[in-house]
Amino acid sequence: MKNKGEVKELASLFAAFLKLGLFTIGGGYAMIPQMQHLAVEEHGWLTDEEVVDCIAVSQSLPGIIAINMATYIGRKLYGMKGAVCATVGVVIPSFVIISLIVLVLGAIGENPWLQGAFLGVKAAVCGLILVSAVRLGRQVLRTPFQWVLMLGALAAIAFAGINAVWVILAAALLGIIYSSIRSGKEVR
């Protein structure tokens, strides 16, 4: 890397994902509200619609959702270098904190202040994910077809317990059929 500007940009990407890794408590979904805020509002890296695409692709592929999202965004912004910076950034807080707890503290213990803090964060995350869903939904849900798909997916996953991967595959197929019928109509 000869370019100083590029180093600076990669450093800010790395720092952003370091922060995301540090404040993701309770799994990948907890990362979404903050990821959206950082990428859309703070840095202007992505639009809301691109955030939805990122979540969609990350959710459809195997593995850790937070890693998928980091690799997706990093690559989209700065290619391979960006993907490495974002992914390493999001992993480091986990690695350091778990290592410190296991090697230094031995265990996290039953400290009520700490347990209470975790409970507070978990409760807040429920609300934050809801806010993200509504905010992104406003961008995406414009036609009755889209509303039907959204509600169908919610019912299939939350109430029928169907694996999200099947729901996404079915949605892709329905989307293809729907758009080919529509473009067929437009031609006529």
Partner: protein
């Protein structure tokens, strides 16, 4: 040989674990048992720790298992192993998407996938509420019949407060989380909530 097994086990977890952290834990449990990296009691410590510490759950679990098995080098090997498949697959998929983004089939697929992703997010909001805002599963018949005692009203209050701070006060999500952590710490520390 141990390090190769450790790497292979976690590479496999990253490759075949669908649905992210929590959904990957059974797969992690099986692999850990198969290779004898730790016993069931230690695994329950892992479960508790990896869910309450910051970071993706499966990364926390990989670091924990690796540390247990072979100290810091083990942690590095397991963590690298669990992250690598995602990285490789995502790089390939993005490359494919870049090339075929304008393709009618890919475009059509995304018109279906985008609204479904919103549905997934609403489902995720329900799943993370399980046992946090309620004392049992959110999606159950019990929630209709159990009455007000089914909910943890302090947690519901914190969740609702977070929504208000985000929307009405336009506060940054990180500040909201820090405030919620502070509120929870005080409530837990002074014994106002049972933790």
């Amino acid at each position: 040989m141990g390090f190769v097994n450790l790497f292979a086990a976690f590479f496999r977890i990253g490759l075949f674990g669908f649905g992210g952290g929590l959904a990957m834990l059974p797969l992690i449990y099986q692999s850990v048992q198969q290779f004898g990296f730790m016993d069931p009691a230690e695994f329950s410590d892992l479960l508790a720790l990896s869910q309450v510490t910051p970071g993706p759950i499966a990364v926390n679990a990989a670091t924990y298992v690796g540390l247990h098995f072979a100290g810091l080098p083990g942690a590095a090997v397991a963590t690298f192993g669990v992250v690598l498949p995602e990285f490789i697959i995502m790089m390939m998929v993005c490359r494919f998407l870049d090339r075929f983004r304008e393709n009618r089939l890919v475009e059509g697929a995304f018109t279906g996938i985008r609204p479904v992703t919103i549905g997934l997010l609403f489902a995720a909001a329900l799943f993370v509420s399980d046992g946090v805002l309620t004392r049992g599963p959110v999606i159950s018949k019990a929630i209709l019949t159990a009455g007000a005692g089914y909910f943890d009203w302090i947690a519901v209050g914190i969740g609702a407060g977070a929504v208000l701070l985000m929307t009405a006060a336009k506060m940054k999500p990180i500040r909201v989380m820090l405030l919620a952590a502070a509120a929870g710490a005080v409530l837990g520390g002074t014994g106002l909530i049972q933790v």
